[in-house]
């Protein structure tokens, strides 16, 4: 197959990685507006959970719980007191991410650790290795689960109600504090799941979160805050753009091109691909 045809599935698989690492952020940043710099640390927590458990499939729910509980504690202990002060939450979350990074360094050591890929993921179809297909499947499953949660469950609908109009939601009897807590739990948990997935393709070390945090924010911002379909489109679009830009130039230039396209795009549509019409945001 010609190499440039190969780049199509490669682009989709890059998109799947982007989507997976950004999915949790669509909750904490997208839905709640918390500039969650600790997102990368939750990804790292997920990756280290995979390292400790050793089994990929068991690690997925475990990482969801571990990272989710960490997020829950962060939200209850600190962030909820700062909802009215977005810049302070940014600093707070960043500080927490530094603390968590150092904690990982003390617990697991500064060098990278190895998470062996399961034997059943060896091999692949065409240009795509099974581990990439696994990540794509995981991303699709994640999106479907999030979509079903937001639109098909009472809790999810309450989450949307709080995002769209917190005071009205509270007046209607929704416990907004509990919804915030749950949203943060799910968002952080999804970051943990992404952390397990990236152990298949990248390094696992204390600084792991830094590798992915910028990409995650790019996807959420380009897609439009709080918009699931925006995040999906942005992730796939950026994946394909990255894939072809790198194919026809090189990795450094591809990064420049991706950033340039995002900046240009945000000039035209500052609120991303899709805009959530809500009283809070407008």
């Amino acid at each position: 197959m010609p190499a440039f045809v190969n780049q199509l599935p490669i682009g989709l698989s890059i998109g799947a990685v982007l989507l997976l690492i950004a999915l949790g952020l669509t909750f904490t940043f997208g839905q709640m507006g918390v500039i969650n710099m600790a997102h990368g640390s939750f990804i790292m927590a997920g990756a280290y959970t995979a390292y400790l458990i050793g089994d990929l499939l068991l690690a997925l729910p475990a990482a969801f719980l571990v990272a989710g509980l960490m997020g829950l504690v962060l939200e209850r202990a600190a962030i909820r007191h700062l909802y009215a002060r977005p810049l302070d939450t940014l600093l707070l979350a960043w500080g927490v991410s530094l603390v968590l990074q150092q904690l990982a360094r003390d617990l697991f050591g500064a060098p990278n650790v190895q998470v062996p890929a399961p034997a059943w993921l060896a091999g692949g179809i065409g240009i795509l290795p099974y581990n990439r297909l696994f990540i794509m499947a995981l991303a699709v499953a994640g999106v479907v689960a999030v979509w079903a949660y937001l639109t098909r469950t009472g809790l999810g609908r309450r989450t949307q109600a709080v995002v769209q109009n917190r005071r009205l939601a509270a007046t209607s009897g929704i416990d907004t504090g509990r919804v915030d807590m749950l949203t943060f739990f799910i968002g952080s948990g999804l970051a943990g799941v992404a952390g397990v997935a990236v152990t298949l393709i990248g390094p696992v070390g204390p600084a792991l979160g830094e590798v992915y945090i910028v990409d995650a924010f790019l996807v959420v911002v380009a897609g439009g805050l709080g918009q699931l379909r925006g995040a999906v489109l942005a992730a796939v679009g950026l994946g394909l753009l990255n894939s072809y830009a790198e194919f026809w130039s090189d990795a450094s230039l591809a990064k420049v091109i991706v950033f340039a396209v995002i900046i240009a795009f945000l000039q035209i549509r500052p609120q991303g691909m899709f805009v959530l019409r809500s009283r809070v945001l407008t």
């Binding site: 190499a3 060896a122 692949g124 240009i127 990439r132 090189d250 990795a251 450094s252 990064k255």
Partner: protein
């Protein structure tokens, strides 16, 4: 018995001042301060901390054997924090405030380039322990790692002997890989080898599927890898899952030593060759002692690597030069250093008088399933350092291209 509190305080104070004066007078009479300047935090800490540990071990050993000129070495440790201006600032502090006799430090070329003017301005000594891209020879720096003709060119010789004539070059996007690849391309042109592609990725890059696609489409005999740090983990994982094996397409790396193998995952990298001057398995009496001492001090699970050994050697070579000069005064040490030859863990090393690099034996090793590296080829004898590649006609013009 109840002692009145003011009396206790007074006694404590007295004890403290006594300690202070003791230490001060000792510093003047029988101590020599040396600076250790590595990144103990930030992205480079993973690698540089181990070099500092090896240097501390050397200082310990020298002190136990009676010190230098009858004086004990006292390390002053500073953190370069993976930030190049910080290296320059801390170097200045070590020279001017601590008045150290020599500094052992740096890892990245960027940190060395940042420190170079500081050492030249203050006429102070830096011992730099890591393989680098050559094309430099400061009168105030001693280079104890390999220059290009002791690592990259032997690596190419090895590939050529193995019949690998079509190469693909992969590297991180900064000075060392770009310079190394210039040399590789000139070598290839002169030796009938073919370069099928040359790709750079930003430092810290982790998405290698496109690059792996390019490499596998080009079907090279071998890949010459100058990627640095975490990128290697992602590159080897993704290369392996794309079905490339060490048998069909060996990847020769020049920045992966024993330390890095664990993080990459032995499964992903076993069987691939690397080029260095020293491995933990190198069979010399000095190495047996070094590995044993290092493990005894820092833990049985620790490994030793080339840059660590080069840092360890640097302290010994400097101490030898000081003994020969009879003083720690910089110009005298510089004059005494050329020709000093010591049996080190990597074998015999000799300080070259012309460029202050070392004669070193080049070694190609293959990564084993246990994570250690087994030597499969060596240059037979220590190679004269040639940072500007003057001895290689095909390299004419490269030195000017810096």
């Amino acid at each position: 018995m109840r002692i009145p509190r003011p009396l206790v305080s007074a006694m404590l104070l007295l004890a403290l001042t006594a300690c202070g004066t003791d230490a001060e007078s000792a510093a003047q009479s029988n101590e020599i301060k040396v600076g250790l300047l590595h990144s103990l935090s930030g992205t480079m800490a993973i690698s540089e901390v181990t070099v500092r540990d090896a240097e501390l071990l050397a200082i310990d050993e020298i002190n136990k054997a009676g010190g230098v000129l009858g004086k004990k070495l006292v390390p002053v440790v500073e953190d370069g924090a993976s930030d190049w201006p910080t290296f320059a600032e801390k170097a200045t502090k070590l020279i001017r405030q601590d008045k150290v006799a020599a500094v052992f430090g740096g890892w990245t070329s960027a940190s060395r380039k940042a420190m170079l003017p500081v050492f030249e301005r203050h006429k102070a000594l830096l011992w730099y322990p890591v393989q680098y891209e050559g094309l430099e020879s400061s009168p105030y720096i001693f280079y104890t790692g390999a220059t290009t003709n002791q690592q990259i060119i032997p690596g190419l010789d090895y590939l050529r002997e193995q019949g690998k004539k079509r190469l693909f070059l992969v590297g991180s996007d900064y000075v060392f890989p770009r310079t190394a690849n210039k040399i590789i391309k000139a070598y290839a042109a002169a030796n009938g080898m073919e370069i099928l592609g040359e790709e750079y990725t930003p430092l810290g890059h982790t998405e290698y599927s496109t690059l792996v696609n390019k490499v596998t489409q080009a079907r090279p005999d071998a890949v010459f890898n100058t990627l640095n740090g975490d990128s290697n983990v992602a590159f080897f994982k993704q290369l392996k899952s794309a079905g490339a094996t060490a048998e069909s397409m060996p990847v020769l790396s020049v920045s992966i030593a024993e330390e890095e193998v664990t993080g990459i995952g032995v499964d992903n990298i076993a069987g691939h060759p690397v080029a260095w001057n020293y491995y933990q398995t190198t069979e010399t009496p000095a190495n047996e002692a070094f590995v044993q001492a290092y493990k005894a001090k820092y833990g049985q699970d620790k490994v030793t690597s080339d840059p660590m050994e080069a840092g360890y050697n640097a302290v010994y070579l400097w101490a030898e030069a000081v003994r020969k000069a009879g003083t720690t005064e910089v110009e005298a040490v510089r004059k005494a250093a050329p020709g000093i030859a010591l049996e080190r863990p990597e074998g015999l090393v000799t300080i070259d008088g012309e460029n202050q690099h070392l004669y070193k034996t080049a070694r190609i090793g293959v990564i084993q399933p246990d994570g250690l590296i087994k030597q499969v080829w060596d240059s037979g004898e220590p190679i004269k350092p040639d940072p500007y590649l003057k001895g290689y006609p095909w390299a004419a013009g490269l030195a000017g291209a810096k």
